[in-house]
């Protein structure tokens, strides 16, 4: 029984949130099952990623001695590389927004009763679930065969990694939406933006190459940029390297700064977005 207005409001709000979450979940499950609508060929990408991680692990074994370098042991670097591949999509979150622009379907998206960021984020998360089942978990399971200790440096590091990973996703998605907004505002061809973005993120995020291994000043500068909060921060926390508190605070800072910026840029580019989307 609802006894007062406050109680009623609370229930209505809860109902609204449940409905909203149901919308996100439905969108996510559609995106997840959309992957397997055709044939199992999408697995090809996963096989390639396994090959890539095998080559990278071998390179580290050639380059580094057991003691490692720059405060990272060989085993820590191997773990760093493997975890980076396991959480590859979360450390470099990509939505299907660019495709929607390219295919001219963005205007249709605006007719849906969900915010654009919410739609694309739900879809992206849906695809992650699928990838975790088909790629990430199997990769973790075979890690002993690759000679890699996949466990975090400590229980605390593991817990903090989860927090840091969520913040990394937040920073990554904010940057994704900023890139998309710039695409519209500057009226750039899509592939140009994708190329620039890929070139920046591969190097600056530290997902492929720990920033600590870069020449001193370069690595130091890169570690303060928002891209480092996307991958380098959670990975460092996982292997127990770096100043955890500083890394998390920096992620919070970038997240707090980039989301309002993304919203502002979208507000600014709204007109152009429709014309870009045909």
């Amino acid at each position: 029984m609802i006894e007062n207005g406050l109680g009623q409001q609370t229930i209505i709000r809860r109902g609204r949130w449940t409905r909203r979450l149901a919308k996100y979940a439905k969108t996510a499950s559609m995106a997840a099952s959309g992957y397997i609508g055709d044939s199992p060929l999408f697995m090809f990408d996963y096989v390639m990623r396994v090959l890539r991680v095998l080559v990278l692990l071998s390179i580290w074994r050639i380059v580094l001695s057991e003691e490692g370098a720059s405060g990272l042991s060989l085993q820590a670097v191997l773990t760093y590389t493997l975890i980076s591949e396991v959480f590859f999509s979360q450390l470099n979150p990509r939505t299907s927004m660019e495709d929607a622009f390219w295919q001219g379907t963005i205007a249709g998206r605006m007719a849906q009763p969900l915010g654009l960021f919410e739609q694309f984020t739900s879809e992206t998360v849906g695809r992650w679930f699928f990838e975790w089942c088909c790629f990430s978990i199997p990769l973790v399971l075979i890690s002993p065969l690759l000679g890699v200790n996949v466990l975090p440096a400590s229980l605390g590091a593991g817990l903090l990694f989860i927090v840091s990973l969520l913040l990394a996703v937040s920073v990554g998605l904010a940057l994704e939406y900023i890139f998309c907004a710039l695409l519209v505002i500057w009226q750039l061809p899509l592939w140009v933006m994708l190329q620039i973005r890929s070139a920046f993120i591969t190097l600056l995020s530290g997902a492929m190459l720990p920033l600590a291994f870069l020449p001193d000043l370069v690595g130091e500068i890169f570690s303060w940029l928002p891209f480092a909060s996307m991958a380098s921060a959670p990975l460092q926390i996982y292997v127990g390297a770096g100043n955890t508190l500083l890394l998390v605070l920096l992620q919070v800072f970038w997240s707090a700064l980039l989301w309002p910026l993304a919203h502002w840029l979208w507000f600014k580019g709204r007109e152009g977005m429709i014309s870009y989307g045909g």
Partner: protein
């Protein structure tokens, strides 16, 4: 005999004519919008640099990688950048990423042209200016490495270099086409399969593969021929392999891969003629 020679001459003349025309189109595209051309060149340059900078910085930090000195690595990175530059110069407009054209149902645009398919494939993607930004960093890195190594090279070596560069490019293209042929069967899920195939070779081609285990190295020299894109031919060209004959391995492998690619593509094309494409994606037909 004379008639045959005449026909070959006519074909070569036709290829040249088409190359000239597509080069003109490429020029028109770039000069029609200077802002876009600058953005395009910058992004191409950034991509070229981005693909090698990680390994370069790593090599700088550790003073080489394994037995590869910095100068050896410059040559390796230069060679690998050049291979991609050559592909981007000759097979632009999704001609190297063929699964996009097949998967989007856009092969029809090729089939309505009154020319043999092979001629369309070797000419339509010619974009010498757009490909320049991939070639220049490659040439610079390659030259820098060679100068650093201080080796004296004769004309034969340069000829073998060109042969190996084109062989490596053929291997990448063939790999893309072998996998891309799957798009005939599953157009939607395989639309980007050539991109995935290309990405695999592209991302791993810069690494020296010396320390890999037998099985992995064997795989990377055959089923996923990463090693043949740069590492093996560069070892052969720099005389790091024990056998002098190793310089011919990449060209021979290229012929073999090309044969497989032709077989797969023609099989797929036969299938396409019976099923057609039920999918047309109008992403700018030569996007």
């Amino acid at each position: 005999m004379a008639a045959k020679l005449n026909s070959v001459w006519r074909t070569l003349k036709r290829i040249w004519q088409l190359w000239l025309f597509y080069a003109k189109l490429d020029l028109l595209l770039l000069i029609s919008d200077v802002r876009l051309a600058l953005i395009y060149f910058s992004s191409e340059l950034l991509t070229s640099i981005g693909s090698v900078i990680g390994l370069l910085l790593l090599a700088q930090r550790f003073d080489g990688i394994g037995t590869w000195t910095l100068n050896h690595l410059y040559v390796l990175l230069g060679y690998s950048t050049l291979v991609l530059g050559i592909l981007n110069t000759f097979f632009n407009y999704n001609l190297s990423l063929i699964s996009r054209r097949i998967g989007r149902g856009q092969l029809d645009h090729v089939l309505v042209q009154p020319q043999p398919l092979w001629m369309i494939f070797i000419t339509e993607g010619f974009a010498p200016l757009s490909g320049l930004m991939g070639l220049i960093p490659g040439i610079l890195l390659f030259a820098w490495g060679l100068i650093g190594l201080g080796v004296s090279l004769d004309l034969g070596w340069w000829a073998l270099l060109v042969l190996n560069l084109f062989a490596s490019g053929t291997i990448m293209m063939s790999f893309n086409y072998i996998w891309g042929s799957l798009a005939f069967v599953a157009p939607r899920s395989s639309e980007e399969i050539s991109s995935s195939a290309s990405r695999l070779l592209d991302q791993l081609k810069v690494y020296p593969l010396d320390g890999l285990g037998g099985l992995l190295l064997g795989s990377l020299m055959t089923v996923a021929p990463v090693g043949l894109v740069a590492w093996y031919p560069v070892r052969a060209l720099l005389g790091l392999n024990s056998s002098a004959w190793s310089i011919w391995i990449t060209p021979l492998a290229a012929l073999f891969m090309l044969g497989i690619a032709l077989f797969c593509f023609l099989k797929g094309l036969g299938y396409y003629a019976t099923t057609g494409s039920q999918r047309y994606s109008s992403l700018g037909h030569r996007s």
